[in-house]
C-alpha cells in the first residue's frame, strides 16, 4: 500500500545522503497521489515496480509558458478511440533522461482552465516522445525537456476522472512542498557540520561574528525541524497537506540559500573551490550547493507563488 507519510519522510531522510536516486520522484510525489486517487488495479500495476526501482518516474507538469502559472499548460490530449494522443512539450522534468514513465498533466478541454486538465501516466518508451536534457548553471543536466508528438496515453492509466487532473496535481505539489522538508533537514545537518568543521580548521570559530552567524543557522534549522514535525504530525493523522505546505517550501528553500551563502561568507574563497581542486573542502561541494540553492526557491512553486497562496488561501486577503 505504498509508504505512509511518516515512512515516506523517514525513507527520504535516510536516502538523502546517497546520490540522487531516481526513484525518489515516483515514491515521494506520485506515490501519495496514487494512494489518494488511483484505483486498486492501478496501484497494483505501478506501486511495486516503483518501490523496487524497476520503473523510474518523472513529473510532466511545467511547460515553457506554464511555469509559475501551471494552469496555463497547453499540452493537448486528443481522443484516439478508447485512448488519447499527447501533443505538446514539458520542461524542468527532473530525471527525465533516465526515466521509464512520466506522469503528465494534459488538456482534455481547452476552454476550462482548471476543469479541463487530466492526469495521465505515460510510458516514455515510445517513438512519439523525445527527451532532451537541459544543462543547468552547475554544468550538470539533472533535468530535461520532454516533447510529445502523438504519444499514446492509455485511458486505463488516467488517475482519477477526466478533468480531475488539477485536483490531483495539487496533492502532488502539497506533498512535494510539505513532507520533503525533513528529508532536506538531513542534508542541512550534514552541511552545517561541515561548515562548523571548516571554520574550526580555519581557526575562526572563536570569532563572535562567525559564532553569531553559525548560531542563527543552527537555530533556524531547529525551527525548520519543528515545522517539519508539525506537518508530519498532521499528515500522519490522515489530513492531506493544505496550503500550509507553502510555509515549509518557503522555509526550507530559503534556509538552504542562507546556509550556502553563509558558508561562502564564512569559509571565504575556499568554499568556491570545486571539489577535487586543491584546498577545497574534501567532502562538501559548497560551490555546487551555492548554485543549487538558487534553484530551490524557483522550482515546485517559486517563493513568490507560495506567498500568493498563503495570503490568498490562508490569510484570505482580498484580490484587487
Amino acid at each position: 500500500r505504498g509508504l505512509t507519510v511518516v515512512e515516506n519522510a523517514i525513507f527520504a531522510a535516510e536516502t538523502i545522503h546517497a546520490p540522487p536516486i531516481a526513484s525518489r520522484v515516483g515514491i515521494n510525489l506520485l506515490g501519495p497521489a496514487l494512494i489518494h486517487h488511483a484505483t486498486e488495479e492501478q496501484r497494483k500495476r505501478f506501486i511495486p515496480k516503483m518501490l523496487s526501482g524497476e520503473e523510474v518516474w518523472c513529473q510532466g507538469f511545467s511547460e515553457p509558458d506554464a511555469g509559475s502559472d501551471l494552469a496555463a499548460l497547453r499540452t493537448r490530449a486528443e481522443p484516439d478511440g478508447e485512448d488519447f494522443r499527447l501533443e505538446g512539450q514539458k520542461v524542468w522534468t527532473t530525471f527525465a533522461p533516465w526515466s521509464d514513465w512520466i506522469f503528465v498533466l494534459a488538456r482534455t478541454d481547452p476552454d476550462d482552465r482548471y476543469g479541463g486538465i487530466t492526469f495521465f501516466l505515460v510510458s516514455l518508451h515510445q517513438e512519439e516522445i523525445d527527451v532532451r536534457p537541459i544543462r543547468q548553471i552547475t554544468g550538470e543536466s539533472e533535468f530535461g525537456e520532454v516533447f510529445f508528438s502523438g504519444a499514446l496515453a492509455k485511458r486505463e492509466h488516467i488517475i482519477g476522472a477526466i478533468g480531475e487532473g488539477w485536483k490531483i496535481a495539487m496533492t502532488v505539489l502539497a506533498y512535494e512542498r510539505g513532507s520533503m522538508s525533513l528529508a532536506h533537514l538531513a542534508r542541512f545537518d550534514h552541511y552545517l557540520k561541515d561548515l562548523v568543521q571548516g571554520v574550526r580548521e580555519k581557526g575562526t570559530l572563536k570569532r563572535t561574528d562567525v559564532r553569531e552567524k553559525i548560531a542563527r543557522l543552527l537555530v533556524e534549522k531547529e525551527i525548520l525541524r519543528a515545522n517539519g514535525y508539525r506537518t508530519l504530525a498532521s499528515l500522519a493523522s490522515g489530513q492531506a497537506p493544505g496550503p500550509e505546505a507553502s510555509l515549509e517550501k518557503i522555509f526550507w528553500s530559503e534556509y538552504s540559500r542562507r546556509l550556502a551563502d553563509g558558508a561562502l561568507d564564512l569559509l571565504g574563497l575556499q568554499a568556491q573551490l570545486l571539489v577535487g581542486s586543491p584546498y577545497a573542502r574534501p567532502h562538501m561541494d559548497w560551490a555546487q550547493e551555492a548554485l543549487y540553492s538558487r534553484a530551490v526557491t524557483i522550482y515546485a512553486g517559486s517563493s513568490e507563488i507560495q506567498r500568493n497562496i498563503i495570503s490568498k488561501r490562508i490569510l484570505k486577503l482580498p484580490s484587487s
Binding site: 562548523v196 570559530l205 559564532r211 553569531e212 553559525i214 548560531a215 542563527r216 543552527l218 537555530v219 533556524e220 531547529e222 525551527i223 525541524r225 519543528a226 515545522n227 514535525y229 508539525r230 504530525a233 498532521s234 493523522s237 500550509e244 510555509l247 518557503i250 522555509f251 513568490e304 507560495q306 506567498r307 500568493n308 498563503i310 495570503s311 490568498k312 490562508i314 490569510l315 486577503l317 482580498p318 484580490s319 484587487s320
Partner: protein
Amino acid sequence: MNFELSEANSLLKSSIREFLQQEAPLDKSRPVMEDTEEGFSREIYAKLGDLGYCGLTLPESEGGSAAGAIGLAVVLEEMGRVAFPGPFLDLVLAIETLSRVKDEPASEFLQGIVEGRKSVLLARWETLEDLDGSSLQTRSDQNTVRGTKLLVPFGNSADFLLVTAAEGLALFPRPEEGWKAISLPLLDHAQRLVEISLDAPGTLLCDKKTADTILKEVAQLGALGASALLLGLIEGSLELTLDYLKERKAFGRSIGSFQVLQHRAADMWIRMESCRSAVYRAAWAVENKQNEAPLLVASAKAYCGDSAHFVCGETIQLFGGVGYTWEYDPHIYYKRVKTLEQLYGSTRNQLEAALRSQGI
C-alpha cells in the same frame, strides 16, 4: 512529539482566554499600563491566584495545578496576545524557585503567594547585561541582606524579594526601612523596572551551589515563558494587521489587495507559525526532560525575539500614519517586544547558549 494540545491544556487555553477577554482586554489594560503607578491590577492578579494560575506549574501536593511547561506556555501565549500587563511570568518564576528550595521558611508562606495574596519576585541581576549572575556583590548572612539589584521587573510592588547573594539565595520581606527603589523608565511605558538597594533583615534559604542549580532550571522556564509571551504578542499584532489590511482603503481598493502588502503579511504569518512550532516543541522537550531542551529553549527565545521585532514593527508600518499614534495599539505590542528581547536571556546570549549546547 505531538502538536495537538492535551485535553487538559485545551481546556486551560480556553479558560485563560475567556478570563482575559473578561478581565483584561487591551482597552481595559491600557489605562492600567499608562496611568497607574504599579502598572498592573492587584485585583486581577488576586483572581488569577484564586483560579490557581499562579501555582500553575507546581505539583498538586504544593497546591499547584501541575500544568507543566506546556501549560505555562499556553497561558503565557494568551497573555501575550492581549499584552497583559504586570509581572505574571516573574511571579511564576519566583514561586518555582521557592518550591524548589525544599526548606521550611519557603513552603511556610508559599501557599499565600500561590493564592495571589502576596507577591514575591526574583532580584537576580546586578548589571545591565542580563547574564548568569556570577560574581555577585550582594551579601547575605543568616539575618541581613545587603546590596543593590538592578532590573527587578515591577519590583516596587513585591511583598517579598528572592535575592541572589554571594552566599546563596536569600528571602527578603519588604521592610519599612532599608529598602530604596529607583525606577528605570524604559522605551516600554508599560514596564516598571526598578533598581533596589537593600540593607535590611532577610533569611538565607540555601547556599550558592544549590541556588545556582535552581536558578538555572528557573532561567530555562523563564526563557520558555518569554518565548510564549512573544508568540502571543505576534499573534495579537498580526490579528490587528489583518483586520486593518481588510478594512482600510486606498487608491479605491482595500490595501490588503496590494500584492506587496499581501506578501509582507505572508512573511508575518510564516514567522508566527514558525514561532508556534518552536515554542511548543521546546515546551514539550522541557516538560519531558529531553536532552535537547537547552538547544530548543535557546532557539525558541532567540527566534521568537527576532520574529516579534519584525512582525510588531511591520504592524506599525502597515498601519501607516495612525500606526505611529499613541491612540492606536500597535506600539503597545512593539514596545513590549523590545523589553522581552533583552530580558530572560537576551537574543545574543541565547544564540551563544544554542552553540554551547551543541559543543560548538
